[in-house]
């Protein structure tokens, strides 16, 4: 009895070898970065330009709809856009429609809003410095509300009512001067959607974006990019930052490389491994098929 054809042996090889190669491909670039230049795509540039076009002190609503799983892809964008908004002294109002998000949002506020992300003298950063924001003076956290698309509709028509007219810490919104004149989403100059899935950017577009003609930009995971890209073409989203590659591009535009830029190297090598696996798998497949057609043993 002859030995199985090499293609047959390869098709049955232990898949843990692939896991090992992928693990190496993910870990090594973190320690030995390639440092390839990051070029932002058109949708990312559009999102950046929408924020740049805001007037000083603009009122911006930031919906942080994500869980820890999505943070590697989306958090770099969040940090970059918050720095950009703080450079413009934008007044920020935060909220979330994800029950997994509140502790994450609290941490983001402590790490990016209440302290300066890029104070004067930050190494490798040549942009304008930002400053620490003060709670209820420069920013307000409205917190979490359950209700998915229904609550997003409520944000559109009566934001204060949706949050019982109080901030997350119970402070009445009437006592917060920066909330003067804000009753619904259309009172904001821009809506920034940091969105890892549903409910998120898609629901904002479908339920309130078009209806109230809201200027909105969004960031999403790479797999959601194809879902949301049509809304950029139609102008319902002013820009879209897709996945880690988009976030890395956004960081390059803002001028402060961070986790997105580091992650882009991982993406480079990780994608190469997947491409190599596809090509290798197909070589094995076609070799096996050719062998069988020639009457070889399967």
């Amino acid at each position: 009895m002859s030995a199985p054809h090499w293609s047959e042996r390869l098709q049955r090889f232990d898949r843990r070898w692939i896991f090992l190669v992928m693990a190496v491909a993910v870990v090594v670039p973190l320690f030995l970065p390639l440092g390839l230049p990051v070029k932002p795509d058109r949708m990312t540039k559009a999102a950046y330009n929408a924020v740049e076009a805001l007037p000083e002190g603009a009122r911006v609503f930031v919906s942080v709809d994500l869980d820890p799983a999505a943070t590697p892809e989306i958090e770099p964008y969040y940090r970059a856009v918050i720095l950009q908004l703080k450079r413009k002294h934008a007044r920020l109002v935060f909220a979330t429609t994800w029950y997994q998000a509140p502790p994450l949002l609290e941490r983001y506020l402590r790490e990016t809003v209440e302290v300066a992300i890029a104070p004067a003298g930050t190494e490798g950063y040549s942009g304008l410095p930002d400053r620490p924001y003060r709670k209820h003076v420069d920013y307000v956290n409205l917190g979490f509300r359950e209700g998915k698309s229904a609550i997003i509709q409520a944000f559109g028509s009566d934001l204060r009512g949706a949050f019982d007219n109080q901030a997350d810490d119970g402070t009445p919104l009437d006592r917060i001067p920066m909330m003067d004149g804000i009753t619904r989403l259309s009172d904001f100059d821009l809506v920034v959607l940091v969105s890892a899935g549903s409910p998120g950017a898609k629901e904002y577009v479908q339920f309130v974006g078009t209806r109230y003609k809201l200027p909105m930009v969004a960031a999403c995971t790479a797999v959601s990019t194809t879902d949301l890209a049509p809304y950029v073409q139609t102008g319902q989203l002013l820009g879209l930052v897709g996945g880690m590659a988009g976030a890395a591009g956004y960081e390059s535009l803002v001028g402060k490389p961070g986790a997105g830029t580091t992650g882009a190297d991982v993406l480079n090598i990780g994608n190469l491994v997947v491409i190599a696996a596809i090509i290798f798998g197909n070589v094995v497949f076609f070799a096996g098929r050719r062998h069988r057609r020639r009457g070889g043993r399967p």
Partner: protein
């Protein structure tokens, strides 16, 4: 009655939700906001139902020692722990909200400088803000010299889950005032235990599960992505262009990769996606109308 009442309620609310888009009167808007509040309350109530349901499903399996019953124990125990630590127990007591103002003495040397001193007496892991001076606690008292008058004091911990102590003290030139306090731990959704579990258990577990996708995608790429026919070959070719074009590596090799990736996204992908979205929207309208008009009754349960 069992069928008619829910049907009529569904029809009324469905027709109202539809009409709301076409009637710009403020009373209609106000009523819509009210209904949306109801929807939000119902959504929140669903969490309670979900909890009861988990108990109903899991408990009998644990009792009968069915397959994987230990996982059900872990599930119920985890849910119970999160419920307990998520309650604001600190509200049962009366934890401090302001720093403790201690002894006040007059120091001629400080008076000569025209200043006052706030002596901060806090644990080492507590940070203080006295006026605009920020610092950390130490084994012994920390002296902060301030201008006479009202001085704002804030004591907090860097860790989340503790209540900051905020207060004010009025000092005259030469005053040395001792201020102390230990920011109390909070319970509930902003409490220390809840945040610790979120940061140290939920976040890593959640991220790990998602990260495993990279390994499964690589494995599937080898085993399943076969160019068996023209359509599959086109799919694989597009995937390779997208993977190279959406990563900096593609642009570094040639501008063709990002350009082709963008074209694939803008034209075939968006076109196909738009067709699916439009089709789904028409389907949703049809289903909505069937429910509103009482033709579709499956949502009322098997008895309907």
């Amino acid at each position: 009655m069992k069928r008619t009442v829910p049907l009529v309620i569904g029809m009324m609310f469905g027709l109202f939700a539809l009409a709301e888009f076409y009637v710009p009167h403020h009373l209609v808007g106000d009523l819509s906001d009210e209904f949306r509040s109801w929807a939000a309350i119902l959504g929140a109530a669903a969490f309670i139902l979900g909890g009861v349901n988990i108990l109903q499903v899991s408990w009998p399996k644990i009792r009968r020692r069915e397959e994987d019953w230990p996982y059900k124990v872990v599930l119920l125990a985890s849910a119970a722990i999160m419920l307990l630590v998520g309650l604001p127990w600190h509200k049962l007591g009366s934890p401090a909200t302001a720093p403790t103002i201690g002894a006040r003495v007059v120091d001629p040397a400080v008076a000569a400088r025209g200043h006052a001193v706030i002596a901060i007496d806090v644990p080492a892991d507590v940070t203080y803000q006295v006026g605009k001076t920020i610092g950390a606690g130490a084994a012994s008292q920390v002296a902060v010299e301030v201008e006479p008058g009202k001085v704002a004091i804030k004591l907090s911990r860097r860790l989340a889950g503790y209540r900051a102590l905020e207060g004010e003290v009025t000092v005259a030139a030469g005053d040395v005032v001792t201020v102390g306090g230990d920011p109390p731990m909070l319970w509930g959704k902003d409490g220390r235990v809840f945040v610790w579990i979120y940061d140290h258990i939920f976040s890593p577990a959640n991220a790990t599960l998602f990260a495993l996708l990279a390994f499964f995608v690589a494995s599937a790429a080898f085993r399943a992505f076969r160019a068996r026919n023209v359509e599959a070959a086109l799919l694989l070719g597009s995937a390779i262009f997208m993977m190279l074009g959406r990563a900096p590596l593609g642009g570094a090799i040639s501008d063709i990769f990002p350009d082709v990736a963008q074209w694939l996204l803008d034209v075939p992908s968006n076109g196909g996606r738009r067709a699916i979205m439009m089709g789904a929207a028409v389907g949703a309208i049809a289903t909505g109308l069937r429910i509103v008009l009482g033709i579709e009754r499956q949502h009322l349960g098997s008895d309907a």
